[in-house]
């Protein structure tokens, strides 16, 4: 026993904490993971829901104002025709990238530690994309005509313009939303079946039964299921990259100084992952505490995610540097002015905030203690969320305030509706997430069971294994 403890500590030293603490039996595991879903409603959950309800109301009022009054209810103007609307859109879409990334790419790379957090991240993706998907519609001057962006045989005999990046967006966003949903739901099916069978009251059983489509864990199904799931992951991986690339085209293909930048696609994708992981962290840390997922979402997960944030943060910083370098190197006066304007212009504060949040803050993750401290992780992840929003605002709105012809320069100031749509969408996002936590298994139960099997497979589990073994297991 003592040796076991010792080895365990050694393992910690060498490899960091395990991806799964202890070896609970399948039934125990199922019960603990389904407790939030099948158990009683928690008071904290209710209070939180009520609190967010207020935000959602604000959101609905702002939406109402936007439709009734028109885009004029916002602070947008000429030249700043895009501001909070598109900023929020890009921000949410970016956040929406972590889910698929964690599920798909990490799955392809056989990263065991992804297992317990992927559903979580996917749900977040779905809700983020839902929030994002709203803006391309409501930002229209005549939103009731949004379907003109869809190619369908109309009596006007006019078609959308596929040379514009916006129809690309339409396809990218809708595809991304669809695929993310399919991926998420496919993963849910076996767990829905579990919920169906584990639930005590008939009502729950029926509902989950219907949602499970009659899954019965048949080996013949598992065979296709696994291959299909893997394929979806394989498809999502280029998809997730393409989506933010296309979003970045909205700006890259224009010729506005500050938008017209070839580095945008990789830089936007990195930024997306950056903000996405930050948001997962922001949601994971409290959830882990409240819902007792500590066992399956271990320090190992937090630490790895911190590493990813550090890496992507550095990529984003590199993007900032390159933007400036190219602006200088191009010798183009307009470009140069656009970037000087970030340092000296009216919106300097936002630019500096962006630098602090996205470049400086993540650097603490060089230190292990920071990577393992829930507090530090939580604070920094919040900072990154803010920073990434600022980045999009600086790129989109600030670039627009100062373009080619000085006579048309003008500044931008948001209205209460702008704020309502920002904070409101955050509340709505939170609400959806709370409902998800309450009614669907947030941790993929069957995958955890599989993981446990795999950990045991090469011999008995970590606890009663020699260090050598343990090292392998945990590394796998």
């Amino acid at each position: 026993m003592s040796t076991a403890q010792k080895t365990l500590e050694e393992v910690h030293e060498l490899e960091g904490p395990p991806v799964l603490v202890g070896r609970p039996g399948d039934r125990a595991l199922t019960e603990s993971l389904l407790e939030p879903v099948l158990g009683r409603t928690r008071r904290g959950w209710l209070l939180l829901l009520l609190a967010l309800g207020g935000g959602v109301t604000f959101w609905l009022i702002s939406l109402g104002a936007t439709f009734a009054i028109g885009i004029g209810a916002w602070g947008n103007n000429i030249p700043v025709a895009w501001a909070y609307d598109i900023t929020n859109f890009v921000w949410w879409i970016g956040i929406g990238h972590a889910g698929t990334l964690i599920s798909a790419i990490l799955l392809l790379f056989q990263q065991k530690w992804r297992t317990s957090i992927n559903r979580f991240a996917e749900a977040m993706t779905l809700f983020a994309v839902a929030m994002a998907g709203l803006y391309p519609i409501i930002h229209l001057g005549r939103p009731w005509l949004f379907w003109w962006l869809i190619p369908y045989p109309s009596t006007l005999q006019v078609w959308p313009n596929f040379k514009s990046a916006l129809p690309w967006d339409v396809f990218a966003i809708s595809t991304y939303a669809t695929v993310s949903f399919l991926f998420w739901y496919l993963g849910l099916i076996p767990d829905l079946a579990t919920a169906r069978d584990a639930a005590r009251d008939r009502a729950r059983r029926v509902v989950y039964g219907i949602m499970a489509f009659g899954w019965r864990g048949s080996a013949r199904h598992w065979q296709h299921y696994r291959i299909g799931y893997l394929l979806l992951a394989g498809l999502s991986t280029p998809l997730v990259v393409s989506v933010h690339t296309i979003v970045s085209f909205d700006f890259a293909i224009s010729q506005l100084p500050g938008w017209h930048t070839t580095i945008f696609p990789p830089y936007f994708v990195a930024g997306a992952i950056f903000s996405g992981f930050a948001m997962v962290m922001t949601l994971m840390i409290p959830a882990r505490r409240l819902l007792g997922y500590r066992q399956v979402v271990t320090e190992r997960h937090l630490e790895n995610m911190a590493k990813v944030m550090l890496a992507t943060g550095l990529m984003v910083s590199y993007g900032y540097v390159m933007e400036h370098f190219i602006a200088w190197y191009s010798g183009n006066a307009f470009e140069q002015f656009a970037f000087l304007n970030r340092w000296e212009g009216r919106y300097r504060a936002i630019w500096l905030a962006q630098l602090f949040c996205n470049v400086v803050a993540p650097q603490v993750f060089w230190f292990r203690w920071a990577r393992r401290s829930e507090v530090v992780l939580f604070v920094v992840s919040i900072l990154i969320n803010v920073g990434m929003w600022a980045e999009r605002f600086v790129i989109i709105a600030v670039s627009l305030t100062r373009d080619f012809v000085p006579s048309s320069w003008a500044n931008y100031a948001p209205t209460w509706v702008d704020w309502g749509l920002l904070f409101g969408s955050i509340s709505m996002f939170g609400t959806l997430f709370l409902l998800f936590l309450r009614f669907l298994p947030a941790i993929p139960i069957f995958e955890v069971k599989e993981l446990r099997r795999e950990l045991e497979h090469g011999g008995p589990g970590v606890h009663d294994a020699g260090p050598g073994h343990a090292v392998e297991e945990v590394r796998s």
Binding site: G25, D26, R27, T30, P151, Q157, V158, W159, P160, F162, K163, W168, F171, A172, S174, T175, T178, V179, L182, F183, Y185, L186, P190, A193, D197, A198, G209, I210, A212, F213, G214, W215, R216, G217, S218, A219, R220, W222, Q223, H224, Y225, R226, I227, G228, L231, L232, L235, S236, P238, L239, S242, I246, F249, I445, F446, E447, K449, E450, R453, H457
Partner: protein, 186 residues
């Protein structure tokens, strides 16, 4: 009339072994009744390694479906853009050529992915799994609820006459509990 024989096993190894044995018997010992049309299946809360081989399943065709759908989507996507922008009404848009391939890449790609994904999901649920199938004889057995929690089950769909024989086989192979669901019961 058909019947389903269900047996729950303690350990994966036993389960897989049982499956192999039954298949082997079906192959070599026809004298034990016409079990040729026996349809074996395993039920577990998570995919079992070696189940495919134990049941002798052929390689899955899902990838082909995905590929087909993906290519269709991509092709369709490009044709749509080429025809609408280049043929049906070629407009002078900012002096760009009506049919400008580079601009058509994103939509082409997205549609490819979309079609492939839909094909996989819908294919799995409705073609491969034949869902929705919220009712299935195996659900008749209350104990079978464990199949999605921690139970390891073997189900054999056989002619009613064979049911008892298979059941005893399963017990012999170490099944913890065995039950028979006959069509009559449904």
């Amino acid at each position: 009339m058909r019947a389903w024989v269900l047996g729950e096993f303690e350990r994966e190894a036993a389960l897989l072994a049982a499956a192999r044995t039954l298949r082997a018997r079906r192959a070599h010992a026809p004298e034990r009744g016409s079990a040729a049309d026996m349809k074996l299946d395993l039920h577990s809360p998570y995919p079992l390694h070696g189940a495919d081989e134990a049941l002798g399943l052929r390689r899955s065709t899902v990838p082909l479906v995905a590929l087909g759908a993906g290519v269709t989507g991509a092709l369709g996507g490009y044709l749509l853009q080429w025809w609408t922008a280049g043929v049906d009404w070629p407009l002078n848009v900012g002096n760009r050529p009506p049919h400008s391939a580079p601009a058509f890449i994103p939509v082409t790609f997205e549609l490819g992915v979309l079609f492939a994904s839909l094909a996989i999901f819908l294919g799995l649920l409705f073609a491969y799994f034949r869902f929705p199938r919220v009712h299935h004889p195996v659900f008749e057995v209350e104990a079978f609820r464990s199949a999605s929690i921690d139970g390891l089950w073997l189900s054999a769909e056989v002619d009613g006459a064979q049911a008892e024989a298979i059941a005893s086989d399963l017990r012999a192979l170490g099944a913890r509990q065995v039950s028979i669901v006959g069509e009559a019961l449904r």
